[in-house]
């Protein structure tokens, strides 16, 4: 069963390209998150929510990419592949909690 073997990912040149791609994505996305948080062009609650959701969405995408490529889940057994849904699920929980929970100080 080739797809179950420990080294079942695509050939080295393909993986090398993927690794560089993910590495670049991670660096660029980090800079975008920081820039968006430092600038916050919109004021008031809209700006706060945009910063929150954008920051969490980018973090979730980064985590997704690391799991798929660096942790080889994209090429792994289907039981393990289910792990990529955890950050996506946590993203929705966090967005819900951070936008819907009562803000006790500012009702």
């Amino acid at each position: 069963m080739a797809h179950n073997h420990a080294h079942s990912h695509p050939p080295e040149e393909v993986m090398m390209k993927e690794y560089w791609k993910v590495f670049t994505i991670l660096l660029v996305m980090t800079v975008i998150t920081v820039a968006a948080a430092e600038v916050q062009p919109l004021h008031g609650m809209a700006g706060v929510y945009i910063n929150l959701i954008l920051g969490l969405a980018i973090a979730t995408f980064k985590v997704f990419k690391v799991m798929q490529i660096f942790m080889h889940l994209k090429f792994d057994h289907k039981y393990l592949r289910a792990f990529v849904f955890i950050p996506v699920f946590l993203f929705f929980v966090m967005v819900f909690a951070l936008t819907q929970l009562e803000n006790f100080n500012h009702p």
Binding site: L27, V34, G55, V66, L80, M94, A97, L101
Partner: protein, 205 residues
């Protein structure tokens, strides 16, 4: 009939045991950190002024540098696994060495960040920021502290594999390095959420 335990009827996943166990361990780690994040979010919403004010006292530039260290170390870890698989000893040592170096860089930056908090001055008087300062800093030290411990925990086996590869016996177990790599990428993943949660996702002052 043999008395030995017969497991031939058991379905086989074909996943190496080490890898399967590591994923089960990572699942428990997700729950460990989820507890902190859950409490953090609930208390953030009910103490948003303290959290916003305290978050702006953190140094996001140092944290961004640390993000780059961890992303870099994840990248070099992936390359070190690839090179051990094709039995390129020199490149394995190079990339494993770089991974350990990035981890050291992370801890050095963390040291400066913590000591800046402990030696914090206000109006010319020493005013240390400690876990007991307020609820935000309690979370800050707890979460980054546990994360830093995970970094140290990953460095121990990485250092062992690195130095072992220079001995006569050498180091050849690529599957084991891959399993350690899973743990190391997870430590990176936790930081990817910790960095915005503690430093960035607050309203501007």
């Amino acid at each position: 009939m043999s008395l030995a335990l017969d497991l031939s009827h058991e379905p086989r996943t074909g996943i190496p045991h080490g890898k399967l166990v590591m994923w089960a361990f990572l699942a428990s780690e997700i729950m460990f950190f989820s507890g902190f994040f859950g409490a953090f979010i609930v208390l953030r919403q009910s103490n948003i002024d303290i959290f916003t004010h305290s978050s702006h006292e953190l140094n996001w530039k140092l944290a961004m540098l640390n993000t780059f260290f961890l992303i870099g170390s994840s990248f070099t870890m992936a390359l070190s696994i690839m090179n051990l698989e094709k039995k390129d000893k020199g490149k394995f040592q190079l990339f494993m060495g770089l991974t350990i170096l990035c981890a050291c860089g992370f801890l050095v930056v963390k040291y400066f960040e913590y000591s800046a908090k402990f030696g914090h001055m206000e109006n010319g008087h020493p005013h240390p920021i400690l876990p007991s300062t307020n609820i935000f800093f309690a979370f800050y030290f707890l979460m980054t502290g546990f994360h830093a411990m995970h970094v140290i925990g990953g460095m121990i086996p990485m250092g062992w594999m690195f130095f072992r590869s220079f001995t006569k016996k050498g180091y050849h177990n690529a599957t084991r390095v891959e399993v350690l790599g899973l743990y190391w990428h997870f430590v990176d993943l936790v930081w990817i959420f910790l960095f915005p949660a503690l430093y960035l996702l607050f309203p501007t002052m």
